[in-house]
């Protein structure tokens, strides 16, 4: 066991798998000599050579297209997209090719590409360095959409993603890279060192790709969330003093419905929270499914706390960010409901 922040955990996952399987290659902008703008691949090119940690041109479509071809030829490519906001030029290759190849060839061809990309706001990045576009990937049949909220999961899920023969879009909430941010930008940053999920085995282990995790059990309310909001939700529940069960969805698609449903059937109340824009967001799927399965247990409408239906503004990122106040307000309203 070692103390790792999320960047180190991700790097460790890559290191462990590159060491284990010569077919694992990394491809992305600035990932090689420099080690990535967030340092996730730092040192890997020195260790594994520039033929396995490959600096790529600024061409997200090309990176993903080429990675698909590499995967078809037996490699296990891990593509890095520098910011999730820049994944769209590769969208066609993801939707029309990566997600569909196995299906349309009945498994004769497939390409086990993992796409890693930092998402989310809270770093004063403005609207083109803050997006959380997971909803549009979760809707695409044939790819797995994953978003860890802590170093332990990040490493275990990333190893599973790379080893999976399915393509995976792996979102890394960049605000969590260095610490379990609880939503209060004015508080001094906390590091992962003191967090139990900052304890990460140095070697190989996996976290399965299709289970949600109950972060904290509780009886009065279920908060279904993922990514940065996991920590904000905990802080908000603590602040209210409600005995909340907090679930980290982490594998967004396919989704572990049972864990969610069992919890809401138990607590009778449910709040769904994510950082992305609310309208048409992934929370809609969560709510739709939970209300269907738990209708007769629900004592209040399922609430959603999410980013506004606007772009993510630079100056007002803390007004955009669904922080503690908004969660507290939603929890209070929900607990007050008949």
């Amino acid at each position: 066991m070692a103390k790792m922040n999320m960047i180190e955990a991700i790097r460790s996952a890559l290191d462990v798998l590159m060491d284990k399987d010569p077919n694992v290659v990394i491809l992305g902008q600035d990932v090689g000599y420099f080690g990535g703008v967030f340092r996730c691949t730092d040192g890997l090119q020195r260790k594994y050579g520039e033929h396995r940690v490959i600096d790529a041109p600024i061409s997200e479509g090309g990176i993903i297209g080429a990675a698909i071809g590499m995967g078809v030829n037996g490699l296990r490519p891990v593509a890095e997209i520098q910011f999730a906001d820049y994944i769209y030029p590769g969208f066609d290759q993801i939707v029309s090719e990566l997600a569909r190849l196995r299906y349309r060839t009945c498994g004769e061809f497939f390409s086990p590409v993992t796409i890693r990309t930092p998402c989310g706001g809270g770093i004063r990045g403005g609207q083109t360095h803050s997006q959380s576009p997971e909803a549009i990937f979760a809707h695409i049949s044939g790819i797995r959409t994953v978003m860890p909220s802590n170093p332990y999961d990040a490493k275990g899920l990333l190893i599973s993603a790379i080893e999976s023969d399915d393509p995976v879009v792996f979102f890394e909430p960049k605000r969590l890279y260095n610490g379990p941010f609880d939503g209060d930008p004015d508080k001094p940053a906390i590091s992962w060192v003191s967090h139990p999920k900052g304890e990460v085995p140095e070697g190989y282990y996996t976290v399965p790709l299709d289970t949600a995790e109950i972060i904290k059990t509780g009886e009065e309310l279920t908060i279904v969330t993922y990514g940065t909001l996991v920590h904000v939700a905990q802080a908000a529940a603590d602040a209210v003093g409600v005995d909340a069960e907090i679930i980290d969805v982490r594998s967004l698609a396919p989704l572990d419905v049972k864990t969610l449903v069992d919890s809401v059937n138990k607590t009778g109340r449910c709040l769904v929270a994510h950082e992305a824009t609310r309208f048409g967001g992934y929370g809609g799927e969560l709510v739709a499914r939970i209300q269907k399965e738990c209708f007769y247990s629900l004592q209040a409408p399922i609430g959603r706390v999410a980013g506004w239906d606007t772009p993510y503004p630079h100056a007002f990122e803390w007004q955009y960010f669904p922080g503690k106040k908004r969660l507290i307000n939603a929890i209070n309203k929900m607990m007050a409901a008949a």
């Binding site: 078809v72 299906y103 009945c106």
Partner: protein
Amino acid sequence: MRKKSRLHIPSSSARPGEKPDFEYLNLSPAGSVDKPPIDSRTRDIEHLSTGLVRVLDDDHQAQGPWNPDIDPAELQTALRWMLLNRVFDQRMWKIQRQGRISFYIEATGEEAISIAQAMALRPGDMCFPSYRNQGLYMYRGVKLVDMMCQCLSNTRDMCKGRQLPIMYHSRKANVFSISGNLGTQYPHAVGWAMASAIKGEDHIAASWVGDGSTAEADFHHALTFAAIYQAPVILNVVNNQWAISTFQGFAGGERRPFAARGLGLGIPGLRVDGNDLLAIYSTTLWAAARARRGGGPTLIELVTYRGGAHSTSDDPTKYRPKDEWASFPLGDPIERLKQHLIALGHWSEDQHEKLEEELKVEVLAAWKEAQQYGTMTEEPFLDPATMFDDVFAETPSNLESQRRYMLEIEGS
């Protein structure tokens, strides 16, 4: 009032009712383009992108340095494959017209491309085709009946009914899956070739797109990556003059040939008579040898003509002269190889007719067999429950429950 628009709008050389006009094609006489060594630097062979490599001349003789000197027996085999491709297409077209399959795309007039290039590549080389490269599957051993079953979406369909007709694939034959999305296969070929290089193997990749599809982003991605990493890949542009109703000027072909598109990245380009099996074969061999010895990518433009409609959904008389193909100066690739063989004394009209009959019988027999495995309207039918397989490597529970529900509903 608004001033007159100054926008330049490309215009096709002839529309319905007008006389076909291929003046715009810049033709070189057969044998006139030189054949440089495969290790030539791109800048020294730029002229190959504006000339036109041709071997067969108007008198059906093979000419010049690109003459591959293929054994007549092999040429006969090539002719047989091309003819099979055509006969197959004709049959399937008719079958579609009878409503027995939903869709079809023919390669009429472009058969030399798939056959010559399949001949020039090695079995371990990987092909990333467009939808007009059915010849690749045939030549590389995919059985006619299997291709027909695909078109029928029947119980033996390699795609289990999931894909539109003609969207074949074959792992065994090393021919990739055809996509409905234009051009997406181009970067796959480059990535595949990069992987081959990374693994220290000497297999190469080849891919094909149409003239129209060169405008897609993936064309640029593929060329850029191929140039940067010197990927061992052959990137073919099949310039059949048309993209549905849109002539090649709307893909940027008005000023420079497509063969020149990679020059700015240092990728050599060969402009080749796409209806001349010998020229295609020998330029492909050249590009393959170049790639295999680490010389990087080559772009080959194959100048041809889409002899038929774009697809069974299309009616080309609406947008181009009826007799345009007949006026195409590079002729019909099958006719040209046939005449060459006759000129060599290794073929005759009689043999040709006999061969055509034979192939028709072969195709018909395959069709009879294919139908036994079901059609869209006749049993046996594919099991719809299979539609939930292969979305993922292992079917997750949400799809399993949708499968159960679907069966319940459909059974009701």
